[in-house]
Amino acid sequence: MEPLLTIKDLTAGFATDNGAVKAIDRVSLSIGKGQTLCLVGESGSGKSVTSLAIMRLLEFAGGRILEGSIRLAGNELTDQTQRQMIRIRGNQMAMIFQEPMSALNPVFTVGDQIAESIRLHQRKRKSEAKQMAVDLLRMVGIPDPETRARQYPHELSGGMCQRVVIAIALACRPELLIADEPTTALDVTVQAQLLDLLQQLQRELGMSMLLITHDMGVAARMADQIAVMYAGVVVETGSVEALFDQPAHPYTVGLMQSVPSMEGERLSELRTIQGHVPSLHALPAGCRFHPRCPHAMPRCTSEAPPMMTVGTLQQAACWLYGDVAAGFAGAPDSDNGEAGG
């Protein structure tokens, strides 16, 4: 079956005072119908840029898609005009954001904000849309939805606001929901409730989900597939089981080890990855992770590794897995020349 969303070699970036910067470089991902893909990585790895590019909202943030393809249900999104995109956004795909309190417009009631979403994409009378908004509030687990619908965002808690944001996103039953760190700004207990809610709604509506998180715990709980991003490139993809059982890329291994464990020896020191994410202006040649990699080889400093198959459901961009599949996912990164080989 064809995946709902297929991203191929997506390159996007920003024009800055120091020249154009590629925030993501040849990112390829796909999400099957009803599946959840978790995009994990540190801040600045390009997760949010990827999600904004898919929504074609990157243009409003001063960025631009430079190359590549984004296909949603057979529809090439990079070819759409913004005029065409307004019919897709909020309808076929929707997005929820990190800061629920600031994601809602302070001067409109939450009911109005949900009803607007409905009326943008469906022919409904105002009263009908309002009733549907109340039903949506009930669906996302807000008690006394009739009263809540008439309230303003500042009268609601952060967790409630995020439920409203979810209701807005789901108003038109999108096929794809993009959630950019949806629980990061919330209390741990509220986080768990919201993740449960998202999972339950996903099952009910049969939608696919792209969940962006830096929290491996969230990824383990929610994902079918995981894609790990580092400094603007995807370094490893695979099923959640494969990635947690046998992380292949040294960066993924490092990420797993830096999750505090509740089991085992309590005094064991929390591992960290040495160094920090490189600036997009000064990316290292070759593999972008090599300056921090414990297994770096001479080849890594000059030649960017392509995606290589390391298991049935797993691929990693690392020379540790040899040359066998070279050419499988494209030639070496042109940015770094053709040295080595």
Binding site: I86, A103, P106, V107, T109, E116, L120, Y152, V165
Partner: protein
């Protein structure tokens, strides 16, 4: 709400009382006095003293103030030293004249500046925005009296298209058409002055709003760009603009002394300058009090508008709004 209004009213009374004391003190602290100004220079010291005694100017200041306050509370604004005219008779017509001039300029500048500033925020650094910036710099930097004189020179003296000054031609008093002709030049000067600030405020305020997360949410919902700006952005952008408008409201009556002088407009600004030079204490007190009332009313209107535009502001609730 009622409690809020009552509290607000009492606060205003206290503020007014303090303002009147300070103004009274300042006016009397200024060197010179009415006796030096309108008595004939040849008058003897004794005669001047007798005159001052007749006017009550030799009494201690606190007593003079209480006398003024007593009259004011009974609706008596006092009389001018010269000609002994009731202050109200001099003051009220000028209030109306100033409101015509300032009201026209102010409304005109708002109607131009807010839509223009909002438009410029969506095309920041485009040619329209650059033009507005240029006009703002000119408006801020150029003294109004100088700009006024330039306009008079060109349109009244050289081209003879428009009247030079005053509110009406001498034989056409009360005619609307003639008033409009007389308004063109002073209104142009004042509108430029107001516009310079407002167009920038509107632009900056909207630019800030367009950066907000809820604007991104609106776009993610599939809201088209014009609706993003005019429905989701505008109301939020207006909130800070309303503050500035409210604070500017008193100018409508207190007037622009310089512009009124250049164009010989019979308004309150010009009256204030004349009366300050003549040391007409009662008129100065009355003008100050009228202005103070307007400052307070202006702030109050701004707060009401706040509550109307921003649901987070609730009048009378603790922390809702500054009193």
């Amino acid at each position: 709400m009622t409690e809020y209004l009552v509290r607000r009213f009492i606060q205003s009374l206290i503020v007014m009382f303090l303002i009147s004391i300070v103004t009274f003190g300042l006016i009397h602290a200024a060197p010179g006095g009415p006796t030096q100004i309108f008595l004939s220079p040849g008058l003897s010291q004794e005669a001047a003293k007798a005159q001052a005694h007749n006017l009550g100017l030799d009494r201690p200041l606190p007593l003079q103030y209480l006398k003024w306050l007593g009259g004011f509370l009974q609706g008596d604004l006092g009389y001018t030293f010269k000609n002994h005219l009731p202050v109200g008779q001099i003051l009220w017509p000028t209030v109306g004249h100033t409101m015509v001039l300032m009201g026209t300029s102010w409304l005109l500048s708002l109607f131009i500046a807010i839509p223009w500033g909002i438009y410029n925020s969506t095309k920041a650094y485009g040619w329209s925005d650059q033009t507005a910036s240029f006009i703002s710099y000119v408006g801020f930097a150029m003294p109004t009296f100088w700009f006024g004189i330039l306009l008079q020179e060109l349109f009244a003296l050289k081209l003879n298209w428009l009247p030079l000054s005053d509110m009406w031609a001498i034989d056409k008093e009360g005619q609307i058409g003639d008033l409009l002709l007389h308004l063109v030049l002073p209104v142009s000067v004042l509108t430029l002055g107001f516009l310079a600030g407002y167009v920038k405020y509107a632009r900056t305020s909207m630019l800030e709003v367009l950066e907000q997360d809820y604007i991104r949410t609106a776009r993610a919902k599939g809201v088209r760009e014009s609706r993003v700006i005019y429905r989701h952005g505008l109301r939020n952008a207006l909130i800070p603009i309303i503050t500035i408008i409210g604070l500017d409201l008193p100018i409508l009556v207190s007037g622009a002394a310089l512009t009124e002088n250049v164009f010989n407009w019979p308004g309150m600004g010009r009256l204030f300058v004349e009366m300050a030079l003549a040391r007409e204490y009662s008129v100065l007190m009355a003008i100050t009090i009228v202005t103070a009332v307007l400052v307070i009313v202006g702030n109050f209107i701004a707060d009401l508008l706040y509550a109307l535009v921003d649901p987070r502001v609730q009048l009378g609730r603790k922390g809702g709004t500054a009193a």
